[in-house]
């Protein structure tokens, strides 16, 4: 039985040592290079006594970043991905929370890391990935490893203003990747075009799918997602046949009518998720790529990425949502109503995830872990943890699961999961802001911030840009004399939404 994700790499490197594993426009790494460099990093860390603890990986998105992740795991550690896109404020918050003794940086980040309030050792990827491999140390680490050991901590938005670090173990990641690859029908002919950031669990699909299947991943430059013709040209140049993108990225191609001029000719598997796919755009894709498979994926970071899938192989009415379908093999969805009983028929319920895909919880945060990772209320006789997603869903008449809405103020914007509360907490700390409230304008897909006080909108934006990841900064800002209140004295979000 596989107990460590590195076994994917070790199996594949025997079969396909010289095949390209990861590439971007600057660099290509074969499976053998990935294997050797990751083991060199693991040996180095082990030599320094870094073991069973977090290792920060702060590198720009590139093939080497995946190698650094594996290096940390070879050392018996788990990695904590950092990226400039998160904003320096969030990076400092994460370092403060995780307190990693070692951080792997590259040329583009080392100086930045030195400027931060970081007490640990800054290691250069370029130096530690070419050193000696200590086979003895690595095999001893592996002998003492179990599949319940953590593999990474990735951070997600928190409504109280502090991001939460989701910590996953080998078992949950192996379960997820095995079942996802089966659904995607991925194999060594698969060529992934990666869009999602490496600091989110979303990129596990390509990063780990590649070493499991002996596939190849091309990292697509972020700027191409602004210029859709270039994007399609990239897909064709590198013969990309499989993508797992956020819906926004697919819509950029279809809504600008690019498909009428040029189609991604090798693309046969298109997985998407994290957002609702506008049916008009989905139908355009189907029309231009009639032979491709379209797969809707659904799942929270807390259940290792994705939990459910639906193969969208029919046309949809414009007002009909694409189902999230059914859970992966070895995962179960419990739809719990207000009484914590399983919702019957088409009744609305909260989507709860059951299975080994459920991650360990939030790092060093038992309180928030216990709110969401709870005892299965339908199981009284023995301990069993399920994850409550906060997503409301129901089954349609075909027995397919449908996502309906959120039960709180979490949104999906440009594929990112955002707690509006986190933006509000941050805006409320600006001088001369009395009260702030965020509304998501789903019609225009933009975050609107309403506030009272004498602060100038421009100053608020500048401040938020410093404190929050770029994708969380409001797209529109409105100053009001007073925020409308409900009869209970709470901010009336419905009235605010009417002002949009």
């Amino acid at each position: 039985m596989q107990i460590n994700i590195l076994e994917y790499l070790e199996q594949t490197v025997k079969r396909l040592p010289d095949k390209t594993a990861y590439a971007d426009e600057q660099e290509k790494l074969s499976f053998l290079e990935v294997y050797d460099r990751a083991r060199a990093i693991g040996s180095y860390l082990s030599g320094k006594g870094v073991y069973k603890e977090p290792v920060a990986v702060f590198m720009k998105k590139q093939p080497a970043t995946a190698v650094a992740y594996f290096g940390a795991i070879y050392a018996g550690c788990f990695y904590v991905p950092l990226d400039q896109e998160m904003g320096l404020n969030r990076i400092e918050m994460i370092l403060e929370k995780m307190k990693p003794k070692a951080a792997i940086c590259d040329e583009s980040t080392a100086d930045l890391m030195k400027s931060l309030n970081y007490k640990g050792t800054i290691l250069s990827y370029e130096d530690i990935s070419v050193g000696k491999i200590d086979e003895l140390a690595l095999s001893s680490i592996r002998d003492n490893a179990i599949d319940a050991d953590p593999i990474y901590t990735v951070f997600t938005s928190g409504s109280t203003g502090t991001p939460k670090g989701v910590i996953a173990n080998h078992r949950s990641v192996i379960d997820y990747i095995d079942n996802l690859m089966e659904v995607l029908k991925a194999d060594e002919d698969t060529v992934f075009g990666n869009q999602t950031p490496f600091y989110l669990d979303a990129s596990l699909k390509e990063v780990l799918g590649t070493i499991k299947c002996g596939a190849t991943t091309y990292i697509i430059p972020k700027s191409y997602f602004m210029f859709p013709v270039k994007l399609v040209e990239f897909l064709n140049e590198y013969k990309i046949n499989t993508v797992c993108w956020v819906v926004t990225a697919l819509v950029i191609i279809s809504s600008f009518k690019v498909l009428e001029k040029t189609v991604p000719e090798y693309l046969h598997t298109i997985a998407f998720g994290s957002e609702v796919f506008p049916i008009k755009q989905f139908n355009l894709w189907r029309k231009h790529l009639p032979d491709a498979r379209f797969i809707n994926l659904y799942g929270p970071t807390e259940a290792t990425g994705m939990s459910c899938y639906y193969e969208a192989n029919r046309a949809f009415e414009l007002d009909e949502p694409i189902p999230i379908g059914k859970p992966f093999k070895n995962t179960q969805v419990l739809l719990l109503n207000d009484k914590d009983e399983e919702a019957a028929g088409g009744e609305l319920g909260e989507i709860c995830i059951r299975g080994v895909g459920v991650t360990l919880g939030y790092y060093d945060d038992l309180e928030r872990t216990r709110e969401a990772y709870v005892q299965n209320p339908t199981c009284k006789a023995y301990p069993e943890i399920i994850y409550r997603t906060g997503d409301l869903g129901r089954y349609n008449e075909r027995g397919e699961l449908i996502f309906v809405s959120r039960r709180d103020y979490q949104i999906k914007h440009m594929g990112h999961r955002i707690e509006l509360g986190e933006i509000e907490v941050c805006a409320n700390t600006v001088d001369d802001v009395e009260s702030a409230c965020c509304i998501y304008d789903s019609h225009k897909s933009r975050i609107v911030l309403f506030y009272t006080g004498t602060a100038i909108g421009k100053d608020i934006i500048v401040y938020l840009k410093e404190k929050l990841p770029r994708y969380m900064v409001p797209n529109h800002i409105v100053n009001l004399e007073a925020l409308p209140l409900t009869s209970n004295g709470k901010i009336d979000r419905i009235k605010l939404a009417d002002k949009i």
């Binding site: 602004m226 210029f227 859709p228 926004t248 440009m414 421009k458 934006i461 500048v462």
Partner: protein, 74 residues
Amino acid sequence: METLLEMLKDMHPEVDFENNDKLIDQGILDSFDIVSLIAEIDNEYGVTIPPESIIPENFNSAKALYALIEKLED
């Protein structure tokens, strides 16, 4: 030009759009901005920017973008 500058200022109030000619190269505009801009230009000016014109050169400055709008209006 005024309308376009207002649109841009609404997105990034701190940026000097009159003079900056590296809006893409410096990462000031992101993909969300491009999508919003194209939709708003369609609303305000009634012109649809064709896919082959959605290239960095046309979005690096307000001036270049306005020149594109004028060209498409003709």
